[in-house]
């Protein structure tokens, strides 16, 4: 071991030699390597449902539409229509955040989400143009094709470019993080309704926890949300992509910066868990089409 007096601070080689000779440097390095090894080897956490309720019948399938919202902020078992795991502070926060102190406010909140769906006409129209173009071409339209179609329909050139870039950017991020095996290349954003519909299902379960309704009424509301909302999507992946993109677009007002996805697109990890069979993800086992 080199005594510290012999370390020449102007010579990098001398400093490295000295560091190599120190036992505590090896201890720190070992702990860091071990930490990353454990994280790498450790299996990802499994999705934990409530044992009191089914996970494979029609009721479970319908409530699974709200998975991304139910397991996120505040997190409770996805198949519990009573949201019984909510703490008192969670409930207070939900009442403040959603303005659902009374049963009427709760019902109005669900109605607003189901009928209004946080839609903005410009976005709805541009996405409808993309879907129509995809139908004609038989494939997902390229950036230039979609932008040109928006401009041809009367849209502003600059606005069209920024909207297309925003949607395609979020779509690419979700595909990369969730996996191309789940969000396959033929799945693309055609609607942003997924976010409002997922929230509506979650709000229905929170209403039971807040004492605004009993389970049968919440189930009936969730059934209605599925009946009205599900036909517009083709798969769980299609719905999940719509939810995440809708969330990012809503909270960013369509202005996507460097940190926007990190801030509002954090639901991608729950999306991945929901769609992974090894992690007990309900979307991996439940069929999209309900008989």
């Amino acid at each position: 071991m080199l005594p510290s007096a012999r370390v020449d601070l102007n010579d990098l080689g001398s400093i490295v030699d000295w560091l190599i000779g120190q036992w505590w440097v090896w201890v720190i390095l070992g702990v860091v390597v071990l930490f990353f090894l454990v994280i790498w080897i450790m299996p990802a956490a499994k999705v934990k449902p409530s044992e009191a309720y089914s996970t494979d019948d029609r009721d479970a399938n319908e409530i699974a539409l709200g998975f991304l919202q139910i397991v996120n902020q505040p997190s409770v078992p996805w198949n519990d229509p009573t949201a019984s795991a909510l703490s008192e502070s969670d409930k207070k926060r939900l009442v403040d955040m959603w303005g659902v102190a009374t049963r009427d406010e709760w019902l109005a909140g669900i109605e607003r989400l189901v009928s209004g769906r946080r839609r903005r006409d410009v976005w709805v129209t541009c996405l409808a143009i993309r879907a129509e173009l995809a139908g004609r071409l038989g494939r997902v339209p390229k950036t230039k094709e979609w932008t040109a179609a928006i401009i041809e329909a009367g849209g502003d050139k600059r606005d069209a470019r920024s909207f297309v870039a925003a949607i395609e950017g979020v779509e690419a991020q979700v595909r990369k993080l969730v996996g191309k095996d789940i969000v396959t290349p033929d799945v693309y954003v055609r609607s942003l309704d997924g976010y409002a519909l997922g929230q509506a299902v979650a709000l229905a379960t929170w209403g039971v926890a807040l004492g605004h309704a009993e389970v049968p009424e919440a189930r009936a509301i969730i059934h209605r949300i599925n009946e009205e909302g599900r036909p517009a999507f083709s798969s769980w992946a299609d719905f999940g992509l719509s939810y995440i993109t809708g969330r990012v677009m809503h909270w960013s007002d369509g202005v996507i910066g460097e940190k926007t996805f990190d801030k509002f697109g954090d639901g991608w990890s729950e999306f991945k868990a929901a769609a992974t069979a090894k992690r007990n993800g309900p979307w991996a086992s439940l069929p999209w089409r309900i008989g």
Partner: protein, 357 residues
């Protein structure tokens, strides 16, 4: 004291009575403290907490100045005394500013609650579709009054652009607004005030229509291309006369199913005469727009430009582009000129001074 005005619609035979008396009296300390509790104002922004803070600051300044005087520092560096007095005066002026604002909002809240309307001291993230709101990255609204009476549904308040930890504030002067719901969605239209514009229209697309008669000197109508006739149907001369009655700084915008009247940020809704004019205008505009826009249909577009559930074709939904504020352009230009001047002086200033003498 009750004051009312009668709607012209037969179905609205019952007069709308608005009690303006809370706006005529100054709220006492009890009313002020009651307002703070009812409006759920955070502790750090409450009257006595702010007052305590200002008094503590003043006491600290006085003690510091006294101590500096005893050790003879004030006689050696008298500028320290100037600093102390400056911060003391700044604190006092700031407190008076805050107290006056609080008192005005208390009056407004009393007025709203007396008339059975909703009131919010501060709102964030309202996401109103109006152009002046949409361009602000982050905004707050103060003193928001909302009526859900179907004869006169409106919201009013004052919007401010604020910065966040990550981003600076969008350059946008504070403005007062009145929001009215429309019975149907309409094309985006802005009745721009030529003298004092609140909606930043520089760089906005669409057609610019010059109006006839004396309105041309005050207003310019911005509408998406192809919707000029629709605009003339909605913006009748008598409607513009009513907007002019509000004062020289008023502007009007129709977007989606909302109408916005924009007024200067200094508009005092807590004054009885201003509030009475505002309520009358809100009722009148609501009635006129119901007639003029209720049956509006965009017949000019097909299913591609206007998919199911969307009332207006893509070209008519929004005036294209982002409006730029003249204030921002002037600010950036001034900063660039100043920066260029400083750079030029740094490079050639010495030579210029030498050659000058």
């Amino acid at each position: 004291m009750n004051e009312g005005h009668r709607s012209a619609e037969p179905r609205n035979a019952e007069p709308i009575r608005v009690d303006l008396s809370p706006l005529r009296t100054s709220p006492g300390m009890r009313a002020l403290l009651g307002y703070e509790r009812a409006a759920d104002i955070p502790l750090r922004r409450r009257f006595f907490v702010v007052l305590t803070g200002v008094l503590l600051l003043t006491a600290a300044i006085v003690v510091a100045l006294w101590w500096l005087g005893t050790i003879g520092m004030l006689t050696r560096v008298p500028l320290l005394g100037v600093f102390g007095v400056f911060y003391g005066v700044l604190g006092a002026v700031g407190f008076v500013w805050y107290a006056v604002g609080l008192s005005r909002r208390t009056r407004l809240a009393m007025f709203a609650w007396t008339n059975g309307w909703a009131y919010a001291d501060l709102l964030t993230g309202t996401r109103r579709p109006g152009s002046a709101f949409a361009r602000m990255r982050r905004s707050i609204e103060r003193g928001v009054v909302a009526s859900d009476d179907e004869r006169i549904p409106f919201e009013l308040g004052v919007a401010h652009s604020v910065g966040s930890r990550d981003q600076s504030a969008t350059v946008q002067r504070p403005f007062a607004f009145i929001e009215l719901p429309l019975p149907a969605k309409v094309p985006h239209m802005v009745l721009r005030n030529r003298r004092r514009s609140i909606v930043p229209t520089l760089g906005l697309g669409g057609a610019r229509m010059d109006l006839e008669g004396h309105f041309a000197s005050t207003f310019q109508l911005l509408v998406p291309e192809g919707y000029q006739r629709d605009a003339l149907y909605i913006f009748t001369p008598d409607l513009m006369v009513r907007i002019l009655d509000l004062g020289s700084g008023a502007e009007l915008e129709l977007v989606e199913d909302r109408a916005y009247v924009y007024l200067p940020g200094s508009t005092r809704f807590d004054r009885p005469d201003v509030m009475q004019r505002t309520v009358q205008l809100a009722e009148e505009l609501h009635r006129r727009f119901a007639v003029r826009t209720g049956a509006y249909r965009d017949e000019s577009t097909g299913p591609i430009e206007r998919p199911e559930g969307v009332a207006i074709g893509l070209g008519g939904q929004r005036l294209g582009g982002q409006g730029v504020s003249l204030l921002a352009v002037a600010g950036v230009s001034a900063a660039m000129i100043l920066s260029a001047g400083v750079t030029a002086f740094a490079l050639f200033g010495g030579a210029m001074l030498r050659s000058g003498g």
